[in-house]
């Protein structure tokens, strides 16, 4: 780190102090305009085509996505699946068949278009079949293309691997940044920096997290800090008025560069919370009086109203709907869903995870559609890795699966070239092909950075600038090359 970061920090502190007074002015303005005034302004600009939001739904713990996207039919892929998944195989008749327009690309040129989604993913299957959702097959953290022989050291070459494969914390961080040993930024954070010209609202960060702090939204320069919302949005401070409010507000601003760095950070975060509060509250009231029945749509979609991921996505939908004319034009949301580390009881636990995920995605999709934002909001659903194809026990319900490498991700939204498989689905063979280690941990056939690059490009980073976010892309063929089969955005 260079010394001139100090001046960044100073300017950040000055920025906060400056914006505190702006916040007061803007809340006065909001009051005098009234909610209707804001509503009109937001509707007028809501039609603007120049708004794009990214919602990254991260499945924490390693989603067993070879039981989310499952082969069907009579071919060898299905028999490989049944042979190696053993007691944790899903039966064909439990799956929701997907209509692939053409044969999916499969490792080893097996060729098949017979796939289904998990029994609990009925709405996701419908979205796929309605060509709103794409499936990104066998992607994962990868520094450079590598073969099984190279991985096993049989070729004498030294190919760099993502550091500390199969470790949650490391692979999560890499999936949210780059497959490197040292971490300096997340790709969402860097994306926000490159898109800064679109995000002119000084009062709210373009980086909004529904799951606390995360590697994804860490910026390189440290000037844009993510803003963390509660699951249900913002909860105001209780009884914060009179002497209490004066006391706290004054002492928070009395913290200066002579104070302990951690106390400075604390007062910064408090400042960020108060500055953003009015804007977010008004976004919520705008959204709630917009006529979109958020609660109704979410409760109609099964468990979406009760689950954490459902609540978080509902809050995101409201933030998007209630945005004002001055809102940031390229916000980046981070939503996390926990509970995917199914070392034991994989079948029942994964099934309830899929139930929650399906309901939340369905409700979020319906809400965005209803509010007219489905074409502006790209949702990306990924996990640090899938799991071993082979189970760790022989009891169907009690057995689990362990940490794998590659996995299958999802993308949905009006801009997605849906109803297709991108990437290369693995052949599901053990001790050959893509497997390393004999348990069905597959080498990714596309790097997660290639997928993320497609998203960054849609958000507005030119292809020539994309390696500023993903330096490892230089080791791979361009994701925008059609033959590479990973660009899942509709050509406009």
């Amino acid at each position: 780190m260079t010394r001139n970061c100090n001046s960044h920090t100073l300017s950040r502190r000055d920025f906060l102090k400056r914006t505190s007074s702006v916040a007061v002015a803007s809340s006065l303005a909001a009051n005098s305009l009234g909610v209707m005034g804001l509503l009109n302004a937001s509707e007028a600009l809501g039609n603007s085509n120049d708004y794009k939001a990214l919602v990254f739904i991260f499945l924490n713990g390693g989603n067993d996505s070879f039981n989310m996207v499952v082969p069907m039919g009579a071919g060898p892929l299905r028999s490989n699946y049944e042979l190696n998944r053993g007691v944790v195989s899903l039966t064909e008749n439990s799956l929701h068949q997907l209509d692939l327009g053409s044969s999916a690309k499969i490792y080893g040129d097996i060729g098949s278009s017979d796939f289904g989604l998990h029994n609990q993913c009925i709405d996701m299957a419908e979205m796929f079949n309605n060509q709103e959702m794409a499936i990104l097959c066998n992607i994962g953290n990868l520094t450079a293309p590598i073969t099984r022989d190279q991985y096993l050291g049989n070729t004498g070459e030294s190919i760099e691997l993502p550091p500390r494969l199969f470790s949650h914390s490391d692979q999560q961080r890499q999936f949210q940044s780059e497959p490197t040993g040292s971490f300096s930024y997340g790709w969402g954070g860097r994306l926000a920096e490159l898109l800064q010209s679109y995000n002119n609202n000084p009062l709210v960060s373009p980086l909004i997290s529904l799951a606390g702090l995360n590697p994804f939204q860490v910026t390189l320069q440290g000037e844009i800090n993510p803003y963390a919302l509660g699951n249900n949005g913002i909860v105001p401070l209780n009884r914060f008025s009179g002497a209490r409010s004066t006391m706290v507000t004054n002492y928070m601003t009395s913290i200066d560069t002579s104070s302990h760095l951690m106390a400075q950070k604390y007062s910064d975060i408090f400042g960020s919370a108060t500055v953003a509060q009015d804007i977010i509250e008004s976004a919520f009231s705008t959204a709630e009086s917009s006529g979109v029945d958020f609660d109704g749509i979410f409760s109609a979609a099964g468990v979406a109203d009760d689950s954490t991921v459902g609540k978080r996505l509902k809050t995101v939908a409201k933030m998007i709907k209630g945005r004002s004319g001055e809102a940031n034009k390229r916000p980046i949301y981070f939503v996390e869903m926990n509970g995917f580390d199914t070392h034991a009881n994989m079948l029942p636990n994964h099934s309830s995870q899929m139930t929650e995920l399906n309901a939340a995605i369905k409700a979020f999709r319906d809400t965005l559609y209803e509010q007219g934002d489905y074409d502006n909001v790209l949702s990306y659903v990924g996990s640090e890795f899938a799991r071993t194809l082979t189970p760790n026990g022989n009891d169907a319900n009690a057995s689990g699966t362990d940490h794998g490498w590659s996995g299958n991700a999802l993308a949905f939204g009006g801009m997605v070239d849906g109803g297709k498989f991108f990437g290369t689905y693995p052949d599901l063979l053990i001790n050959q092909g893509l497997d390393v280690g004999g348990r069905g941990r597959f080498i990714p056939t596309h790097s997660s950075s290639q997928c993320s690059a497609v998203i960054a490009n849609w958000m507005g980073v030119s292809q020539s600038n994309i390696s500023q976010i993903f330096p490892s892309l230089n080791n791979f063929p361009s994701p925008f090359d059609e033959s590479v089969n990973i660009n899942f955005i509709k050509s406009s």
Binding site: M1, T2, C5, H8, T9, N60, L83, N84, R164, L165, S167, H168, G181, G212, L213, V218, T219, G222, N225, A228, G230, I234, V235, L237, N238, F240, A243, R244, T246, M247, V248, N250, Y251, S254, I255, D256, S259, H260, L261, M262, A263, Q264, K265, I269, S272, A273, N338, D341, H343, A344, T388, T390, N392, G393, D395, A398, G400, D402, G437, R439
Partner: protein, 888 residues
């Protein structure tokens, strides 16, 4: 400059030489009638004071004696410097030889008649030159009028000054990029030369070296000639250098120490650090003599310093300082605190001996008091009375720290539904808190709640036919999180690099697959029969031992091996000095499986990376987020190969880095307080309580007794306290982390200046915009209505947990003066106990001024259970103030 004389001896032959002519050779002789020869006197010399000091004009002393005749005698002598070229050698310009009366010794040493002995002083000449210690040797020479005794040579040393601290001379330097190499590394250096100029101690710290340090030298400027190699094996640690003794031995172009000293004072030396990426040197620092700087000195502590240190100590070692715990220590420590470390150690030893408080026993007592509730919903509520009132504060505080390393969590539904197992797991940590980490990790590994959480319970060996493999979950985390982590480290925590300059992984996925087989075959030891009686478990697959609210005995007892499900084949495990290989075993019983497990756990705990890895984590829990490498090393050494937790705890709490009052001036030392610990500190100071006593009740004041059999393990007046879920308020709660990675990563660094300085602040993970508001509202609720969770069968006013403000009222009422004086006293009181008095000390008085100002005019009438406005402002205002979130 003075001349260097090296080994050229200066012989001063004077007087009496004339007598040599007589009697010699028998040439032309004059006949003198022979007289009976008078026996010649025998002379000898000895040292009575060997050191002379130029600065203070202290002299060295020699004593010359004779026996025999009493006539006047002139003794011939010679003086010379050291024969060794590399040592200093005194020249005639450096000293004078004088008699006791101050007169100069001339060509010979003269004894007057009847004088048997004489003292010769060697007095250094006071010059402005800096000299190394010089040796002067005086030799008595042959003479005709005396014989030489056995002792005729005496050596003394002439020094610049004594080696008292006040004579130390300080050299300072700052590390910067060498030859403009692209590096962000920087650092500081000091060299303290002792008064006699013979040697000194070198200390330097540096950070942000791009790659591992490979070498470090002292060089001559500007040629770059190496003068001295600072060898790794001579250093206390492999990272920063502290108190490295350098005796300025001649090196490079220099042949003696005086040349070295002159070059040192001329600023001709620099130290550089070589790294893997910059083998020619990455950073360098010149040793610059600083005549103005005072040598470092341990200043005596003031009474206030000692008070602050006591509170700091209690904040580190307990769930919060109280007037009682402060008084106990204060009474033992003298005013200047000279015995404070002994007293702290005494206190720690006392804490080692206090009977252990059991969470499970208190859980069971709580379940009895609230029979209508699901036990799982009552959660780990026993934590509150334990943290706020238990006598074994240090043990419980260590337990809390361990619970954030050896994580199980109620966030997992299966764990959540076994409340007795959770209490038992806490007790497993606390019973081992003052034992060995080796035993602790064994008990944790065998605990069914850990088996459940990291799924090595009912973990079967591989079944080739069915195509199944052992569960890898525990195998991975026991290495990655519980013992040595991902990469090999030095004893001071620095990462060891391989030949490719990359960190060396401690294990591969193959290791994990082998390791997973170690943890196969573990099942529950007990179960229940249809009558819900506890039975021995014989069914490996059993996962049930009674419905909700039953004793769940099996979840409190260690698991056992089912040999037919354990893999007894050879296992090739991790590498430390060599690779740990567990051979395949012919005997296949549970004893064999246990022995194998023991060998693996031995290897895990004694792994050379485990001590620094766990040491850093523990220091972060108690003292500071960013311990120096020296601090990590000292604690790692105390941890040892078996994980001696008593020594480790003492090493953490008594280290100079933990105890030095100077850290209070630092903007980076210390840690952000965990919100949970901030809450317990407030609760302890303000005696949070319900009206349900653990012990006997008191009807007169509406306190109901529950006569808990272990009430004596708690302070008087301890009550049952159930707060309900505090995760939404604090972002944390014991044994409820979101994942096995705890509430925060030990390496989390918030963006901004902390990150740019390479500093971590793990606890700041919990401080987000939404969480900060939730925390504020949490204190608001405590003050406004108190906490209450599942009260029946008790009425609300008995079960509700409230803060008691009588101490605050006492401070207010006892303070003489106007409202400003009283407000100041009240804020200073809270500042003292909750914040080690830092607010009063700091230059920026903004927060203190606002707090004091807010209290003035705030009403405080007498009133029932509600907390009055003044106290409300004081508690809320201090609990959430920025300065109060920092533990230094």
């Amino acid at each position: 400059m003075r001349a260097y004389l090296g080994n050229i001896s200066i012989l001063i032959f004077l007087g009496f030489i004339s007598s040599c002519g007589g009697g010699g050779g028998g040439g032309s002789s004059v006949d003198i009638p022979p007289t009976p020869p008078e026996p010649a006197p025998i002379i000898s010399i000895s040292v009575t004071q060997s050191q002379a000091y130029e600065k203070t004009q202290e002299v060295a002393e020699l004593r010359i004696e004779r026996s025999g005749t009493a006539k006047t005698l002139s003794i011939s002598y010679s003086v010379e410097g050291s024969g060794d070229d590399s040592f200093g050698s005194a020249s005639i310009s450096d000293y004078e030889l004088i008699y006791e009366d101050g007169s100069l010794v001339e060509d010979s040493i003269n004894l007057s008649e009847n004088q048997d002995s004489i003292i010769i002083h060697v007095r250094p000449k006071n010059d402005a030159q800096r000299e190394i210690p010089e040796t002067l040797t005086l030799t008595l020479n042959d003479g005709s009028s005396y014989d030489l005794g056995d002792e005729i040579v005496a050596s003394i040393t002439i020094n610049e000054a004594t080696n008292e601290i006040s004579n130390n001379q300080l050299f300072l330097g700052t590390f910067k990029a060498q030859d403009s190499v692209p590096t962000n590394a920087s650092g500081l250096l000091s060299f303290v030369l002792q008064g006699d100029n013979s040697k000194g101690t070198l200390t330097y710290t540096y950070a942000n070296l791009g790659t591992q340090r490979t070498d470090q030298h002292i060089h001559l400027w500007p040629s770059g000639t190496i003068i001295h190699d600072i060898k790794d094996e001579d250093l206390q640690s492999s990272g920063n250098v502290s108190d490295y003794e350098w005796n300025i031995e001649p090196g490079g172009i220099f042949t003696n120490k005086q040349q070295m000293l002159d070059a040192l004072f001329n600023g001709e030396f620099y130290i550089n650090i070589h790294s893997a990426a910059f083998p020619g040197g990455e950073i360098l620092a010149h040793l610059v003599f600083d005549a103005s700087a005072e040598p470092p000195e341990q200043l005596p502590l003031t009474e206030q310093d000692v008070d602050i240190d006591i509170i700091r100590f209690l904040t580190q070692a307990t769930f919060g300082a109280t007037p009682e715990s402060y008084s106990e220590l204060r009474s033992l420590i003298d005013v200047e605190g000279s015995n404070r470390e002994q007293v702290y150690e005494l206190w720690i030893d006392q804490q080692f001996d206090i009977p252990e408080t059991s969470m499970l026993a208190l859980d069971n007592h709580t379940y009895d008091q609230f029979p209508s509730y699901n036990h799982a919903a009552l959660k780990t509520e026993s934590f509150w009375p334990i943290a706020v009132y238990a006598n074994d504060q240090l043990r419980q505080r260590v337990t809390f720290a361990l619970s954030e390393i050896l994580v199980i969590s109620r966030a997992d539904g299966q764990v959540r539904n076994k409340p007795r197992g959770i209490g038992s797991y806490w007790d497993t940590l606390s019973s081992n808190a003052f034992g060995s980490y080796r035993k602790l990790i064994e008990d944790v590994t065998m605990h069914p709640m850990m088996g459940l959480y990291l799924s090595h319970l009912r973990n079967k060996k591989a079944d080739a036919e069915a195509g199944t493999f052992p569960d890898e979950n525990y195998a991975r985390e026991v290495m990655q999180l519980f013992t040595f982590g991902l990469v090999h480290r030095n004893i001071d925590g620095s990462i060891i690099l391989g030949e490719d300059n990359l960190p060396i992984a401690t294990y591969s996925n193959e290791t994990i697959q082998n390791m997973a087989r170690v943890f196969t075959g573990l099942g529950l030891s007990y179960g229940v029969n249809s009558a819900e009686e506890t039975i021995e478990n014989t069914n490996f697959n059993r996962g049930f031992c009674g419905p909700a609210n039953s004793t769940h005995h099996c979840w409190t007892q260690p698991m056992k091996f089912f040999p037919n499900q354990h893999d007894f084949d050879e296992k090739k495990l991790f590498i430390d000095d060599g690779q740990l290989v567990i051979p395949s075993s012919a005997s296949q019983d549970s004893d064999q499986a246990l022995m194998e497990l023991g060998l693996v756990l031995d290897g895990l705990v004694s792994h050379q990376t485990t001590a620094p890895f766990i040491a850093r984590r523990l220091i972060q829990r108690f003292v500071t987020s960013n311990p120096s490498s020296g601090y990590i090393e000292r604690v790692a050494v105390a941890f040892g190969s078996d994980g001696d937790l008593r020594s480790t705890i003492k090493a953490i709490l008594l280290d100079t880095e933990a105890r030095s009052p100077s850290v209070l001036n630092s903007k980076t030392f210390g840690k952000f307080k965990e919100p949970l610990l901030q809450m317990t500190a407030v609760m302890r100071l303000l005696e949070a309580n319900s009206k349900i006593a653990l012990g006997a009740g008191d009807e007169d004041v509406g306190i109901v007794g529950t006569n808990y059999q272990f009430a004596h393990h708690f302070s008087d007046g301890a009550t049952l306290m159930k707060l309900g879920s505090v995760v939404p308020v604090l972002g944390q709660e014991v044994l409820s982390a979101p994942s096995v990675f705890n509430f925060f990563s030990p390496d989390f660094s918030p963006t901004g200046e902390l990150a740019s300085q390479g500093l971590v602040a793990p606890e700041l993970t919990l401080i987000t915009e939404s969480q900060i508001y939730a925390m504020f509202n949490g204190y608001d609720k405590f003050i406004n209505s108190g906490y209450n969770s599942r009260r029946l069968p008790y009425p609300l006013d008995q079960s509700r947990v409230l803060l008691n403000t009588s101490r605050l009222d006492e401070v207010w009422n006892n303070k003489e003066g106007d409202e400003t004086a009283k407000s100041t006293a009240l804020i200073d009181y809270l500042d003292f106990y909750l914040n080690s008095g830092k607010l009063k000390q700091t230059d920026n008085q903004g927060t203190r001024t606002e707090l004091i100002y807010a209290l003035q005019g705030a009403s405080c009438g007498p009133g029932g259970t509600t907390i009055c406005e003044r106290n409300s402002l004081a508690i809320y205002g201090t609990a959430v103030a920025p300065e109060f979130q920092i533990q230094q």
